[in-house]
């Protein structure tokens, strides 16, 4: 039985450094090639030595597929392709291809320039790596080689995120990457057709969470901002440059438009501007509203949101500022925070999770006095709000995707092990399919039952169809006669005549003969005639001939009469024919 093997090098019962090896139908595919945010040593990257101890990976991998541009999904790509060595094709969607190098370059800068690490990939390596990328379009089937084909589906999550359907022959695997089943302000929901893959490899970040409606959270967020602005306060929103930041921008921008607000919104420049440029370009990847309205106005061309300048922080009056980084641990957001913290009219909104030890984490936990460097303390008087916007599917979303795709097996990655156990149990219970959750380095093996395609000649099909009653009758399977020829890796079903012809064989006919004894006083010819008339009366609808040479033909069966030597009254009927009939004698019983 053929098998599909899945081995996570990263993201197995873990979040970060997604890297999953799949071997299917003799092909080896690497899905994602990410880094781990939590480590600064070798554990940062997936362990490529699992594939081969030394030498390049090119010969072991048929292709690499990157689902989206987050660093935990593509951060190790230049390392793998340039430093370990891989020259095969790398597939990613157009937006991912555009934004990925920006993030990689940023990542490199921070690691090398700020932390001073050596033995890291260089800018040139990023460029070289990107040259190996083959871009994908949504729903476009790409033939990697003769047998392997991949197809991308929309995944939501971030701009350009895709799920991939990998198919070899009739075996197939779907890898979701990160996805989101509920639409947000700038992206739509993930969608896949009923492709019934053998394995569905799904992320499970929120395996044990069912989230509330997005609209409530958005409304809360907007209300808080609005109230603060009306009071004349300043609002600081620390964000990371990509993804959620754009969502919040759209949210605020439309709200400003709707409510006719005049207070300025600023966005700290840098990375963002470049990224926004790509968001403007890839309108087709966004949600229904943005796609529909971009003819009048591209939603990413913000009217109310302007680039931020350091000096604006001291301007009087209300304003909203988006600043990086997201956890208030350094940089511009921290500087602005220090300036504004003293006024209770102001507000800071943390739109995401903060790591322990950062200022963001401290203020979220209600600390009102912060120790800054140089023994100075900072009184935090401004309001602190927490607003989480996450773009992963929750447990219900994951179940919904399973229902959409109808896989035969399920495999969970990109989540905490304990939570996966719960989801695994649920999936097995609800869908009664097997669910796997391999740890890093473990291999999950799924045996498949692929259907074998057979060519059938059209003539044969038509002939056989004409034989049995009216079509269609889907309730009954139909048997048909034919000859299966296995030749040069291909299977063919042909009629027996053609098979004989192709194989160069002569046709042999089997004739069956049997003798029936009758008690009949008449002469041979009379008996024959009586048989003839009897058959004629019994077998209506058959052609029965009385031939002059003393035989009766019923279709292809020949009947002869001879009297036995010892008893002239005992006549022997000789029947002979090729028909596969079992009940010849029946008709002669009453004679």
């Amino acid at each position: 039985m053929p098998e599909i093997k899945v081995t996570p090098l990263g993201a197995g019962q873990d979040v970060g450094r997604s890297c999953i090896l799949v071997s299917i139908g003799g092909k080896n595919i690497m899905l994602d090639c990410g880094m781990h945010m939590g480590y600064n040593d070798d554990r940062r990257f997936p362990d490529f030595s699992y594939i081969t101890q030394n030498g390049r990976l090119t010969e072991f991998l048929d292709c690499v597929i990157i689902s989206h541009f987050h660093l935990d999904h593509c951060g190790a790509l230049p390392f793998m392709s340039e430093m370990v060595g891989y020259d095969g094709p790398i597939y990613m969607t157009h937006p991912t291809k555009a934004i990925c190098p920006i993030l990689l370059e940023d990542f490199r800068k921070i690691t090398v320039d700020k932390k001073g690490e050596t033995n890291f990939f260089t800018s040139q390596m990023i460029k070289d790596c990107m040259k190996k990328v083959v871009p994908l379009n949504l729903h476009q089937t790409v033939q990697v080689d003769d047998e392997l084909e991949i197809k991308a589906y929309y995944a939501g999550h971030v701009l350009g995120a895709a799920m991939v359907h990998i198919k070899v022959g009739s075996e197939s695997v779907v890898y979701t990457g990160d996805y989101n089943m509920t639409p947000d302000r700038h992206l739509g929901a993930a969608w896949i057709d009923k492709c019934r893959p053998d394995i569905l490899i799904s992320e499970s970040t929120y395996a044990t969470t069912i989230r509330d409606s997005k609209r409530c959270r958005e409304r809360d967020f907007l209300k808080k901002v609005h109230e603060s602005i009306e009071r004349g306060g300043k609002v600081l929103i620390p964000v990371f440059a990509l993804g959620r930041a754009q969502e919040l921008c759209i949210l605020l921008e439309t709200f400003w438009e709707r409510m006719n607000l005049k207070a300025p919104i600023y966005f700290s420049t840098g990375l963002t501007e470049k990224a926004n440029h790509y968001y403007k370009l890839f309108i087709t990847w966004t949600n229904q509203k943005i796609r529909k309205t971009f003819v009048q106005r591209n939603m990413f061309e913000f009217k109310h949101i302007k680039p931020f300048d350091r000096s604006y922080a001291d301007n009087p009056g209300p304003m909203v500022v988006f600043a990086t980084p997201g956890m208030l641990h350094a940089g511009q957001s921290l500087q602005i925070f220090k300036k504004w913290a003293g006024n209770e009219k102001n507000m800071v909104i943390m739109p995401g999770y903060c790591v322990q030890g950062t200022i963001g984490h401290k203020i979220l936990n209600g600390q009102r006095k912060l120790e800054m460097e140089g023994r100075a303390t900072l009184d935090v008087k401004l309001q602190v709000e927490y607003m989480s916007f996450s773009a992963h599917a929750d447990a219900k979303g994951i179940m919904q995707l399973i229902r959409m795709a109808e896989p035969r097996n399920m495999l969970l990655v990109h989540g905490e092990g304990a939570k996966m156990v719960f989801l695994k149990g649920k999936i097995e219970q609800e869908f009664s399919i097997d669910c796997y959750m391999p740890a890093n380095g473990e291999t999950a093996t799924v045996t498949t039952n692929p259907s074998v395609p057979v060519d059938i000649s059209l003539n044969l099909l038509k002939r056989e169809m004409a034989l049995g009653g009216p079509l269609p009758d889907p309730k009954k399977p139909r048997t048909m006669h034919g000859t299966l020829i296995m030749k040069e890796n291909s299977l063919k079903l042909v009629s027996s005549e053609q098979a004989l012809k192709e194989l160069g064989l002569n046709e042999h006919q089997l004739r069956f003969t049997c003798r029936v004894q009758l008690q009949d006083p008449h002469s041979d010819t009379d008996t024959l005639h009586r048989v003839y008339t009897h058959l004629k009366s019994v077998l209506k609808g058959y052609t029965i001939q009385h031939l002059p040479d003393g035989t009766v033909m019923v279709e292809s069966i020949v009947i002869k009469v001879s009297s036995s030597a010892e008893d002239p009254n005992t006549k022997v009927l000789l029947l002979s024919g090729v028909i596969r009939t079992r009940t010849w004698g029946v008709f002669f019983q009453p004679c």
Partner: protein, 965 residues
């Protein structure tokens, strides 16, 4: 037969026919003949196809259809090319549709073509033709039976198109009772439903869809579908193809409506539930389908399943949250708790939504079973079409179930923040519709009111409308609403009227809640006099409107008013009487009058109206002394009644106008004038002419400005008009010398009488003894006599005819229009460069106007007498309520340079066309084109179309400046 027909066709080709108007005319060369010649000429299939295509572009007369069909069939048998045969088959279908052609004569031929056809496509097309024939002949059971047999025979075809068409045929023609195939075929004789249901499992999704559609078609034709197909239909809900699923949703719905109470088992358990609940659960499941078309369909369908049990209904809003396997409360639940605990909006803490108790992993149900959370999904859907459908469905279900309305409130309020305006608007409308069932909580009201700042006018107005109907629970809510409305007023001053109206209802709905707020609202102080607020401040007026309306049903409230409040009341009662109700104020002279007219019931007013009419009807003779006075007083009374009793304004006005017409007529026909010699009575002649003119105008107003008229009244109006015309004729005869114009106008008058007779044949018995009645008696004499004599007859009949008694219909409404914007108060001229245009925003409400898109025009009058008529785009009309329209449009003004600013007048016109309304002559109706700018309006007496100004004109100050060089 065919040959004979062909011959006939050839004859037609060359025949010369005599037409009624005594002119010789060649009939058009018959098409069939031309076609035959063409087809014979065609050497190859491409040519033939070209001819057929050309042929198809022109219509064929009903008489020659059969001939054409024969020719086509003849060619059909000869033709070898599939595409040509296909075209012929489709042409056959088209031809059968010809008006006035009965296709039963070609049924046999059409069926016989089927038997030899090899090509599947052509076969499908032929079946389509049969379908057309079948639908044209619904009354013939024999043909139907034959067609059904044909359909059954071809159902086993291998091509999906043929099977589709056969199923369609069965769906359109199948009948309940008769078994389809003949008895002697044994077990094969089954009814049409089971045959169709066999194809629910067809291998081709298109055929499956067609089968379901055929079944639905049977249902639409009133045949009861058996419930045995229920299970099959349910299976189709999980089909791979969206069109099948979509049709299956419909099928499920139909079954749920037919057999709501039958019991179905739940698989894998012993329980049983009602069928409607089961279907509801299954369709709910489809709300999270992969295809958005199906989702829309499912969401829509849910809304119409009103018989579903409340238990299932409430599940659709159910969503259990969890975080890290611990139960979490939804924002809605938290809000509700905060509200019940008396604390409002803490929301400052991080993780105040932190999950509480641990969940048992076994109880968590991840995949929505049954109806669970269907609307939660639907409302969060990616496509706004689905969201709108879900909102509408919520509305329908909530209207029938108050408890559900209460529950879905939170979700609807959430939808106010949708990113797409349409969805927001729809949810506001829906909330208004179910608002009778609900009371808004403070936090919900807060969310609702936040939308008041929306920049879209539609949204704000919808919201105002909503607030008009909303019930709130506490005085804080009232305060909040007032505060937000004032903010709204401040931000968008154009919303003034809408906001005031909103506060009017808010006040009259919650008098007891307003009472404790009064001192604060009016900023009165127990010891100190507070400064008198500015009376022109819209915000202050808004507050007063709220307070006064509350005071209407709260007699203790006026005690809290300060002096100036009473003065302001008197002022506002006069200036904004539609917003400020009459109050019973202590020591106020006004109050007596006000309360009296307020208490007058509709019945008594109706009675009064009827009595006045009866009184007038006594007047038989025009010369009766005092008759004129009686009419005068009655008219005055009626006009006043209309002002006092708004419900009867239409009827009263209508009567008054009618009586005025009669009065004018009466005056015009007074003795003195007619006994004098012609040259001596020039002056009277002038008054009579103007009177006739006025009566004509008034009759047009009577006919077109009032809605709810019955043909009896229309006849009466036309009768008056006829009298006026007669009067005009008589006057013409007296003044003008010259016979020719007189003859023509006499002829015209005779035509008018004829058309009157034609139009109101049924009403004639009611017009006993009237002017027309007499005229019709004299008709033979009139039509033969000389003009002079005719005039004399008319004159005597006119003077002898009695006053026609007016009978009132049930409901008469007068079309009215009020221009809200421009207000005409601005002193700042609208400046623009001459030669260029300036856009003027017009905002008006129209009441009781039928078909405003076609009838309402905007007229702009310039000081130099120039007038422009602009017809607004159909999209500029909105319909906020029954019999109410709102016109929000822009008109473009332009003029040459003026030296100083001056006023232009803007008013609304109601265009009418008597031709389209009564005479219904197509040639006149087609003339209804309105040019953008007509320098003078067509005078109503000569043209059959005209306009009635039906709004007060508003003056706008404009100043076209000379362009700078």
């Amino acid at each position: 037969m065919a040959a004979h027909l062909k011959k006939r066709v050839y004859e037609e080709f060359s025949k010369v026919v005599q037409v009624r108007d005594q002119k010789l005319r060649l009939s058009k060369p018959s098409k069939s003949a031309a076609l035959h010649i063409d087809l014979c000429k065609a050497t190859n299939s491409t040519d033939a196809l070209q001819y057929l295509l050309q042929f198809a572009r022109k219509p064929v007369e009903a008489e020659s259809v059969e001939g054409v069909v024969r020719i086509l069939l003849e060619h059909y048998y000869k033709e070898t090319d599939n595409s040509v045969r296909l075209k012929i088959a489709s042409l056959l279908g088209l031809l059968t549709k010809t008006q006035g052609f009965v296709p039963d004569c070609i049924v046999d031929d059409a069926i016989s073509t089927l038997s030899n056809e090899k090509s599947h496509q052509v076969l499908a097309q032929l079946l389509d033709t049969l379908l057309v024939i079948g639908t044209q002949l619904p009354e013939s059971p024999a043909i139907r039976q034959r067609l059904i047999e044909v359909a059954c025979k071809h159902l086993s075809d291998t091509y999906f198109g043929v099977r589709n068409k056969c199923l369609q045929l069965l769906g359109c023609l199948g009948v309940m009772d008769t078994p389809l195939t003949k008895e002697n075929e044994g077990p094969g004789s089954r009814d049409v439903q089971s045959i169709i249901s066999d194809y629910f499992g067809d291998q081709d999704p298109r055929v499956r869809t067609a089968a379901i559609k055929a079944m639905l078609q049977l249902h639409e034709r009133g045949i009861k579908i058996h419930d045995i197909i229920y299970e099959q239909a349910c299976r189709l809900l999980s089909d791979d193809y969206e069109q099948v699923r979509s049709a299956a949703v419909q099928m499920g719905w139909v079954l749920s409506q037919l057999y709501p109470e039958s019991i179905v088992p739940i698989p894998s358990s012993n329980e049983e539930i009602r069928l409607v609940d089961d279907v509801f659960g299954k369709i709910s499941h489809m709300v999270s389908d992969g295809s958005w078309m199906v989702r829309v369909q499912a969401a829509k369908t849910l809304g119409s399943m009103l018989q579903v049990s409340p238990h299932f209904l409430e599940q659709t809003l159910d969503k259990k949250l969890m975080s890290d396997l611990r139960r979490k409360r939804t924002a809605h639940e938290r809000a509700r708790e905060l509200f019940t605990s008396g604390e409002f909006s803490s929301g400052r803490k991080w993780a105040d939504d932190a999950p509480k108790e641990r969940l048992d992993t076994n109880t968590v149900n991840l995949i929505a079973s049954g109806a669970c959370g269907a609307f939660v999904h639907g409302l969060e859907d990616e496509m706004f079409e689905v969201r709108i459908a879900a909102v509408e469905a919520l509305c329908q279900l909530a209207q029938s179930s108050p408890t559900f309305a209460e529950k879905c409130l939170d979700f609807l309020v959430d939808m106010f923040n949708d990113e797409i305006e349409e969805v927001r608007l729809q949810s506001i409308h829906v909330l208004r519709e179910i608002s009778t069932h609900i009371t808004l909580r403070e936090d919900q009201l807060d969310t609702v009111l936040a939308v008041l700042e929306d920049s879209s006018r539609d949204i704000r107005e919808a919201l105002h409308e909503l607030i008009c109907y909303t019930n709130v629970s506490t005085k804080e809510c009232i305060q909040l609403a007032l505060l937000e409305l004032l903010k709204n007023l401040n931000k968008y001053p154009t919303d003034r009227n809408s906001v005031w109206k909103c506060l009017k209802f808010l006040g009259s709905r919650h008098p007891t809640l307003v009472l404790p707020l009064v001192p604060e609202l009016l900023s009165t102080h127990p010891y100190f006099d507070t400064p008198e607020p500015d009376m022109d401040d819209p915000a202050y007026i808004a507050v007063l409107v709220l307070v006064f309306n509350a005071a209407k049903s709260c007699p203790t409230m006026p005690a809290l008013f300060s002096d100036h409040t009473f003065r302001h009341y008197a002022y506002l009662r006069d200036s904004l009487s539609h917003l400020v109700p009459p109050l019973r104020l202590p020591g106020n002279g006004l109050d007596l009058v006000d309360s009296r007219c307020g208490s007058g019931s509709v019945e008594s007013a109706q009675l009064f109206l009827q009595q006045s009419l009866n009184r007038v009807s006594v007047i038989q003779n025009l010369e009766t002394p005092g008759a004129q006075d009686l009419l005068d007083f009655t008219i005055r009374d009626l006009r006043r009644l209309g002002e006092l009793q708004t419900e009867l304004a239409g009827a009263a006005d209508f009567c008054a106008t009618y009586l005025r017409c009669q009065l004018l007529l009466m005056k015009a026909l007074q003795d003195r004038l007619w006994n004098m010699a012609v040259p001596l009575c020039l002056k009277q002649n002038v008054t009579a002419t103007t009177a006739a003119q006025q009566i004509l105008e008034e009759t047009y107003k009577l006919e077109f400005l009032y809605s709810g008229l019955e043909s009896r009244q229309v006849a009466t109006i036309h009768h008056v008009r006829l009298q006026a015309k007669a009067l005009q004729l008589v006057l013409t005869a007296r003044t003008r010398q010259g016979l020719d114009p007189l003859i023509s106008s006499c002829e015209k008058f005779l035509q008018d009488i004829e058309s009157f007779q034609r139009l109101f044949l049924t009403e004639l018995p009611h017009l006993q003894d009237s002017f027309v009645d007499k005229l019709l008696e004299l008709m033979p004499r009139l039509s033969s006599c000389k003009p002079v004599e005719m005039v004399r007859i008319l004159q005597t009949t006119l003077r002898q005819s009695s006053l026609l008694h007016l009978r009132l219909p049930q409901q008469i409404h007068r079309a009215t229009a009020t221009i809200i914007e421009p207000t005409g108060e601005s002193d700042n001229p609208l400046k623009f460069t001459s030669g260029l245009v300036v856009a003027l925003d017009i905002d008006a409400t129209l009441e009781h106007v039928q078909d405003p898109q076609n009838t309402v025009k905007v007229q702009v009058l310039y000081p130099d007498g120039q007038s422009h008529v602009i017809h607004p785009k159909p999209g500029d009309f909105r319909k906020p309520g029954p019999d109410r329209h709102r016109l929000i449009t822009q008109v473009y003004l332009s003029h040459t340079a003026w030296t100083e600013p001056s006023q232009i007048e803007v008013r609304l016109l109601l265009a009418y066309s008597s031709s389209s309304a009564s005479l219904s002559s197509p040639s006149l109706a087609s003339k209804l084109g309105w040019s953008d700018s007509t320098d003078s309006l067509p005078p109503p007496e000569t043209a059959v179309e005209g306009t009635i100004p039906f709004s007060k004109s508003v003056k706008v100050y404009i100043m076209p400046k000379p362009s700078r060089r």
